[in-house]
Assembly symmetry: C2
């Protein structure tokens, strides 16, 4: 696939602040777009089809899964949500970059389908400090230390599948770093 | 080699403005250092050995070439100039990044010895516009067009050996882009 734009995928654990970063970057960086998701959940008053979401029927959604039309999809409670590959590819072809903000499972699906994307992992600040803190003090119970270390390692090993890791210590700095990655990747030499 | 810092190598044709960018980036970015070069040229009044240059004898310089101590070196008129590998490696080990600003031949030598470096090519703005301009107008002589296209292609093919290309259209923007690349590379996931 040749495309003019670059696909950026931003992910991380829930609550890590990736939504705030996503919103700020979209409003501050030129020539970058989000992708409108498809969903089976009912349209709410004020929502615009094709702008807030593509509102499609469960049968249509199922059909598109079978046709391999989604870059990623997931069930959230009883409703389906997904990113249409056509949406992303068309935006890239028109010369715009795309910034997706999705959960860790979604990012893994996108990586399989569009490995040429640039994958950014947002990490909570506590994880970095965790190991040092645990080793520095002897206050925590053995089980509590182990649980947190396990969580830490799971998260760290996840980061390995990404191109960049940003520790969301201060929001403004994390936003700047995502912008810097976008600027840098736009300067990157491409080999065709 | 494992090192904590990142080696950034900035290069480009002479007159492209890489000196100005280098100076601005060193003064504005934290935790980045230049590397003091070694030279055989005589020390001038006011210059400090080990700060402006390492002033060494031609015999010493020759010995260090034989011992493979230089990341790159070149003869400029009758004097030798070179970047000592030990200088760069020690700075990287101490946790600082290094930003080298060298000519195209020097960058090629560094690439061979430290391929893990991040190589940034600074391009004059005229080259990008050149092809479009030549095709858009029919004013230039065939030979003049050919000469410039050849130069353009030579330069473009050089850029392929770099990780990033920055068109120095406006100096402030080029400085921002180098800073963005440094910020991004510091967030990059490293595989050991």
């Amino acid at each position: 696939m040749t495309s003019k734009g670059i696909l950026f995928v931003m992910s991380g654990a829930s609550g890590v602040g990736k939504g705030s970063i996503h919103k700020a970057v979209l409003s501050q960086v030129e020539d970058i777009r989000l992708s409108v998701s498809a969903t089976t959940r009912p349209q709410r008053p004020g929502e615009v089809d094709g702008q807030d979401y593509y509102f499609i029927s469960p049968m249509d959604f199922e059909e598109r899964i079978k046709n391999n039309e989604f870059l990623e999809y997931a069930r959230v409670y009883s409703q389906m949500y997904g990113t249409l590959k056509s949406e992303v590819v068309e935006t890239l072809h028109s010369g715009y970059d795309v910034l997706l903000e999705i959960d860790i499972q979604g990012a893994r699906q996108v990586r399989e389908k569009m490995p040429q994307g640039v994958f950014i992992f947002i990490q909570p600040p506590s994880l970095e400090a965790l190991v040092e803190r645990i080793h520095g003090r002897g206050l925590d119970s053995q089980q509590s230390i182990q649980d947190r270390l396990d969580a830490c390692h799971a998260e760290m090993s996840m980061a390995r599948y990404y191109d960049y890791v940003i520790v969301n210590d201060r929001l403004e700095e994390a936003i700047y770093k995502v912008q810097a990655i976008i600027t840098a990747e736009r300067c990157r030499v491409k080999y065709y």
